[in-house]
Symmetry: C2
Subunit: 168 residues, 2 copies
């Protein structure tokens, strides 16, 4: 890593959105804190925006030297659903983690790859909330490497149908 | 696995598109045969369509019991770039693997998640070539689980810029 950053998710101050997910909804490969094989990304508020930082592992490559697009899509996806949950709590005037939990799944994902994303530096996904309407939240996201925007994405997230929850 | 299928990529008869990629372009986390940490997906012609089969690993989960959307996006992504390469060879009347190699990268990726994708059964991605024009190939794809369409996607693939190739 050019700046010595350890691979994996970068933790910032305080609990992340994903730290509030109930245990049975914390298995996701992208963002579940209990999935030991997964990415375990962490997303936080930064004012009106949300931020996720992740340092890809050496094998998260596409063409050598560049980050795998599927990883970029995964980061934007889970950043989007996490942001959607946080936005829903905020819109409802509720504290994150209060019951019942908000948990969103992805209805659609779009990613435009603007330029090759270099491997070996921390990536930052910044999200903005485009809309919160009923059970649907739309999040737009920009993924940057060393401050240079490399991908832009949009996630349409919908509240998880209760029937999907095994414990329900 | 409900039908005894081993997790990972499913090989069909004959070499896959990805088996023709040169060694230095076979490192991709999604489709590189030399990335031992990766998915190593294999894509084949089936008439005018292309097909990739993959059995997710137990940790490729989103909500327990369902497949992680980032994996679905990854399968569609690499299925799309592999299909683009095969389509370019076919359009040029060239044998796959002949020099110089066609290798495509993703310009944009879109996935609509139609319904939750069950974990524990083989997934099949089927692609159709929407257009081949200059350096750009557009591929649409449907991902099914046990014959039920669970996601639809579109990949806009462009020929890899030669400057991305480390050996160039």
């Amino acid at each position: 890593m050019s700046d010595g950053a350890a691979p994996g998710a970068v933790m910032l101050d305080g609990p992340a959105f994903q730290d509030y997910y109930p245990d049975d909804l914390s298995q996701c490969y992208g963002c579940g804190r209990l999935n030991e094989h997964g990415l375990q990304i962490k997303t936080y508020w930064d004012g009106e925006e949300t931020v996720t930082r992740y340092v890809p592992r050496p094998w998260h490559t596409a063409i050598p030297g560049y980050v795998y697009g599927g990883l970029i899509a995964s980061l934007i996806d889970c950043h989007g659903t996490g942001t959607a949950a946080a936005a829903a709590y905020r819109a409802a005037g509720r504290e994150m983690g209060s019951e019942p939990p908000y948990r969103f799944v992805t209805a659609s994902l779009h990613v435009d790859f603007l330029r090759p994303t270099p491997l070996g530096v921390p990536l930052e996904v910044r999200g903005t909330i485009k809309s919160v309407a009923g059970r649907k939240v739309v999040v737009s996201a920009t993924l940057s490497a060393d401050g240079v925007a490399c991908a832009r994405g949009e996630v349409v997230a919908v509240e998880m149908p209760e029937r999907m929850r095994a414990s329900s």
